[in-house]
């Protein structure tokens, strides 16, 4: 239906757009000398949803890419060529992601694509990138269990977000009882499977783990919150590890606040709640609940301050927040630029080979490195929600000197996955089985 509507509207508008194109052409001819011919620019694809349910998160990433490209062009572009952004809208529609990716690579001839948010959209574009041999930079924290030659994962793997968060709760809050609450899809399910195995390896018994899944956009949290309250009254310190995604978070936190569950009683640590998501809630009843990320806007470093200032100037909005996936795109984009300069070519094969080993300073004071498994090293921060909707880093003590954790594509805590290794430099394989010594092992 969407397609027929589109062709209908383009048919209706064709005369007007034709007129506009002619007018634009005339203007262009009169205003510019033809110095910037099309083949002098290098195209960069931006594949983020600008409409539909995911628009809330992904629109920001499109904006930050435009800003990064603009900034690089002001510095003279890459290898003497200007960069040009090609923005498409896959409209939160997973099959459309694959279609738009194909369009970007074959029709627009982009050298690299930055895009996707949900794991299902990434899985849907994977075959396209493999077949057409292009590069995708994926900026969001995800469940791991994947390493592809054509994809570079600049978001966190579970060992860079979920496991350190659980460690923090065990050590600092002495948590003994765990609620793993998530939205019902692949990221929470896999992450919770890893966490469950990890908790059991630390001696937590099955009775002390409660797992709960809810549908996307769940809005009536009364029963679940009161179940959590009940589960938490067994005399052992209890915490909630939340992989609840998207819109469902707001009513969840509202219900927590209303039922009077304070962070001092049952803290909630979330992996999908950032500055952007908190913008829709009054955070005063939530002070003290936690989030684990690899970047927080509130971390004070010169690089971060400059980035935020530039972001506000670029969007002409001094209130726009910055968040973790934005930083991932910042790192990914600069790594790509460095790899192109190292390879002296925009050819995807040469860039893919040049990328492992590239180092790029992140915004919070460390230097991230692209690893042979196409994941990067990242610092891990635990932040507490503040009354103003920002996060206050409570671990590590000095966020600017945080230790960098290398991303692990295959979890060490899952059967089947712990024997696998990804290495695109020496082994040239994304799922090498260390036991059978063969490429092509199966994950969980």
């Amino acid at each position: 239906m969407t397609r027929s509507t589109m062709s209908l509207s383009s048919g209706l508008l064709s005369r007007r757009s034709w007129l506009a194109a002619v007018a634009g052409l005339c203007l262009g001819l009169s205003a510019f000398t033809p110095a910037n011919a099309a083949d002098d620019t290098i195209k960069i694809g931006i594949l983020h949803s600008l409409s539909g349910t995911m628009a809330i998160s992904e629109t920001t990433l499109k904006d930050v890419m435009l800003m990064l490209i603009d900034e690089q062009n002001k510095k003279g572009g890459v290898l003497g060529k200007k960069l040009e952004a090609v923005v498409v809208d896959p409209a939160s529609n997973w099959p459309l992601f694959a279609e738009k990716a194909r369009e970007l690579i074959t029709k627009d001839k982009v050298s690299v694509v930055f895009g996707c948010w949900t794991s299902v959209s990434r899985k849907s574009v994977l075959p396209v990138f493999k077949e057409l041999d292009s590069i995708l930079f994926y900026p969001v924290q995800y469940e791991g269990e994947e390493s592809e030659r054509n994809v570079f994962y600049t978001g966190a793997a579970p060992n860079q977000q979920a496991i350190p968060a659980v460690d923090y709760l065990m050590k600092e809050e002495k948590v003994k009882r765990w609620v793993l609450a998530g939205t019902d899809y692949v990221y929470p399910r896999t992450t919770n499977k890893i966490l469950e195995a990890y908790l059991k390896s630390k001696g937590v018994s099955q009775d002390d783990i409660m797992i709960n899944y809810t549908p996307f956009g769940h809005s009536d949290w009364q029963t679940i919150v009161s179940d959590i309250k009940k589960f938490g009254s067994a005399g052992k310190k209890t915490a909630v590890v939340s992989t609840i995604n998207g819109d469902a978070n707001v009513p969840f936190y509202k219900e927590l606040g209303n039922q009077g569950i304070k962070a001092t009683d049952i803290p909630v640590v979330a992996f999908s709640v950032g500055e952007e998501e908190l913008a829709g809630i009054d955070t005063k009843p939530l002070v003290g609940h936690l989030a684990a990320w690899n970047y927080f806007e509130s971390i004070k470093t010169p690089a971060n301050t400059a980035f935020i200032k530039e972001w506000h100037a670029f969007t002409k909005n001094p209130k726009r927040t910055t968040n973790d996936p934005m930083e991932a795109h910042y790192i990914g984009f600069h790594m790509w630029v460095k790899a192109v300069e190292k390879a002296k070519s925009f050819d995807p094969d040469k860039v893919i080979e040049a990328l492992p080993g590239i180092k790029q300073a992140n915004l919070t004071g460390g230097v991230s490195e692209m690893l042979p498994n196409h994941h990067i090293t990242k610092p891990v921060f635990i932040g507490e929600i503040q009354g103003d909707g920002q996060f206050n880093v409570v671990s590590p003590d000095d966020p600017t000197k945080a230790r960098l954790v290398p991303g692990d594509a295959w979890s060490d805590y899952l059967e089947g996955s712990k024997d696998l290794e990804a290495d695109w430099v020496t082994l040239k394989c994304g799922n090498y089985n260390k036991i059978t010594k063969k490429c092509g092992g199966q994950g969980s």
């Binding site: 600092e172 679940i224 009940k230 819109d247 009513p251 803290p267 809630i281 009054d282 409570v394």
Partner: protein, 548 residues
Amino acid sequence: MFFNSDVSRRIVGRIKRAGAILALSVTICSGWSGVPAHAASFEDDVALFAARSFADSETAVSHLQVSGNPLAYPIISALKDGRLYADEDSKKVFIKGTDSKIVDAANGQSVATLPDSASPVRLNNRLRRTIDAALGSLTLLSPDVAVRIQAAQSVFKNHEESSLAPLDAALRNETNDTARKALAAARAAVVLFKTDASEADKLDAVATIKARGDQDALALLSGLPGDASPAVTRAATAAMTSIKGNLALWSTVQNAWYGLSLGSVLLLAAIGLAITFGVMGVINMAHGEMVMVGAYTTFVVQETIRTSYPAAFDYSLLIAVPLAFVVAGAIGVSIERTIIRFLYGRPLETLLATWGLSLILQQAVRTIFGPNNREVGNPSWMSGAFDLGQITITYNRLWILCFALTVFVILLAMLRFTRLGLEMRAVTQNRRMAASMGIATSRVDALTFGLGSGIAGVAGVALSQIDNVSPNLGQSYIIDSFMVVVFGGVGNLWGTLIGAFTLGIANKFLEPVAGAVLGKIAILVLIILFIQKRPRGLFALKGRAVDA
């Protein structure tokens, strides 16, 4: 031996108690000035806040709590609210008052301005717990009953031995019954966890806690250390079993309440559709977007109030309700006039047209207000919760239930007693006959559709209090709304009411057993089966009107 040590312990306890009471009364006496007992260390303790370490801050709080210094309470409460500032270089600590006046925390003297290098002392949850415990024992003698009860509650949770003396003092002066109970329970908690309390005292404590009988009591008893004496352990286990049985009973009541509350949300979402789809027979896929328009109207009203009359914030919803009705109703009338009136009797086309319309409205809102959630605040009378027996009832859910029922009654009365209602019923039952009686049917159509949309807008005001205000708000309610109307019986308002509450309650009793995802699926399957048996829903219209 035993006797002797017991006596000496009692004496020591009494002396300690007396000391603590003295310290407490000193704390409360704000006019008191002089040299406190720990004068030398007080300033050092305060300076610990400037060390920027959570552990040091914790030490400082626990020292301040027993210092007896009148500044201890202002310092700790400022720390809790994030109004305590520390300067790392000069090791100076400042309190920023609620009136923005700056005071040096070490000596209570006013300071003109905060140094630039000072920043708020950071908190984490462990520190917050220490603060709550400290404030608990410092506010046990507060003149405000509510504060005393809260203090007793926080002592109950933390059950620190140092709180025993202030508790005894507070119990002696307490006149309010509720506060007295809370204090007694708190004292029992402390005694139960005190290593050197006698067995008889501990058994008494278990009985007191058992009488409290709520979830906190259960949590406290199950956290009892393993080295307690057999008699105490036995009593505690028995108490836990009895509390658990009691709570299981209450949880049924609670499920019923949650069901009513979910039912009221379903009713609100569906009631507008009961008019446009139920009475008029228009398959209105843009119904959810009318709800969204109502929610965004609330947002605009609140923004306006926030910027121009912040004092009137509590009335924002009262202002938003009529406005949302007018805005959504006007949009409804214009939709009916421009699109739907050409499509009467063509359900498939109506479905496609209204579906397209819903996408247009969503994208329009996304363009105007942005794709992000918008913050709609709860007015103070809709925040928080109260306890009824052993269940917690949140105010916002209670008000939404009342509101849903009010809207229902008003709508019912309107259809029955007003001229417009009469005309509406006439037109929907027999259009040609109504027209021959001189009713302007097309005007009635437009008004009916406007009424349904307006009611949806009013529902949006209520739903903005519990859900996201985002362009997708409407989508999440459209399926549920159709479900309720079809289940209840098309064309019957009472059916919508009964249908909404039945589905709500069934859902909430299934959810604890089957989980949220399976529960929802089970409900859908049940409805499909039900519709097979009774295709016209719970309350089917009978007679000649049905196929007219």
